[in-house]
Amino acid sequence: MRTTALVLAAAAAALALPVVLDGRQLGIYVLAGLAAMVTVGLALLMGFAGQISLGQASFYAIGAYTAGLLTVNGVPPLLGLAAAPVLAAGFAAVVGIGLLRLRGHYLAFATLAMQLILLSVLAQSEWAGGAIGLQGIPRLSVGGIELDEDVHYAYLVLAGLTGTLLVARNLVASRVGRGLRALATSEVAAGASGVPVGRYRLGVFALSAAFAGLAGGIYAFYLGYLGPGSFPVLLSVEYVVMAVVGGLGTVSGGVVGAVAIVLLVQVLNDIGTRPGMPSYAPSVLSYAVYGLLLVIAVLYLPRGLVPALSRRDRS
């Protein structure tokens, strides 16, 4: 009961906020929503497949570039947006066949390497705009109506996030979802119960990539410009922190973690860009705080904010 009330309250707030926020705050809202979409997928991957991806921003980038390149080359924007998650998931499925054989730290390194390679390929490819990036991406239009205000994108992100959450929730409560939760705690017993462990693990990896790809697609239309610099490794680290802080293996944890971290980053940026601060202050501060947050989360909230809070609720 209390959970339902909380979810309703959060939904009402999410619906009302775009109307009352000012321009700069709307930008933060959109970025938080996009980050939440990515993090919901990553929390599934980390919680259920037991895999750490340090390259989740690659799928965000692939989605963004897919949508951007297609529309710049004359494909209808909506089709470009639809292609974003598909291509990201396809890419994940292909690299996943090799990568998911790796365990623990190796997968983390491999996904990190994947992102570095992707960034350098993007920076050197004429067709992707090279290091300068992709300019002049048209705005998204749905049924002849062009989405050209930030408020539109805020609601588009909210719709995307809602879809993501519904997919994740329905999946977790299903036969496949039980199989995933099972393999997260005992691969051996899951296999013996008929769960195709390797295929499922690849499946969550692709699904998490699809969520990231969809978020990236929306991002491309929102910004209208893409460059390799929009997808730094720091962004991937940020997603991991968000997922860990929010709670792995939970559906709502991704949202809680993303919103909490985006707000925190704003505070840090405010501090880091005060007069008198060196130019590197914002990025040094974020790295330091991410590191600190990870340590704190692992030490004191090993299962993340959401499970910790709901446990307190129950007792």
Partner: protein
Amino acid sequence: MHPLLRVNGLRRSFDGVFAVREVDLEVPRGELRAVIGPNGAGKSTLFNLIGGQLRPDGGEVVYDGDRIDRWPSHRRARAGIGVVFQGARVFRGMTVLENVMVGAHGVTRSGFLGAVTRAPRHRREEREILGTARECLARTGLSAWADRAVDALPLGQQRGVQLARALCGRPRLLLLDEPASGLRAAERAELAALVENLRTDGLTVLLVEHDVAFVSRLADRVTVLDLGQVIAEGTPTQVRADERVIAAYLGAEVSA
């Protein structure tokens, strides 16, 4: 008719030491076969080779006419091989009921799309899985625990959850690795009655158990392993009279 399970010259070593060497085994349909032997004899290794948790170094496992020794474990589960592990291999963080529902995985099919769209067929299958899982819990006497976190159960009951989970996959061959350990006398008797029942239903059962009395009462035939090899096979009475068995196994029990 061919036997349900046939094992030929099966071998598996760890770091150069054989855990199972040249094991031959034939289990006809409907038989309750006990596998006994001292600690480290290779009983669990043999089970893992049949269940697909381990790959053999050599030899073959033929189940229902199919050569399965290279199949992944989930495919063997689908083919009807149910496993209860010696250790408490349950799905922590899930309820007892959910644990058992996972067992239906091999005999159900709805996938990602059905789940995400909540298709009617998927919902119907979910109800079926729930029904079967509840039946299996009732059969293993765990109904009262259904909505508890599985981690909260004593180890003996966690093995009961494994048994219910295995039954939920409608197995034809059931591998039970020391299912009675950690149970009290009354619980052992209940388990024995349940195993007896399963056999009456036509299930073929392979049972590892240290308690010789428990085994003798239940088993049609007994296979004795020592140092990875079969040293005797026969009815419980025959095996208990076998000198090599007395020396290798019962001797060890007595001296222990």
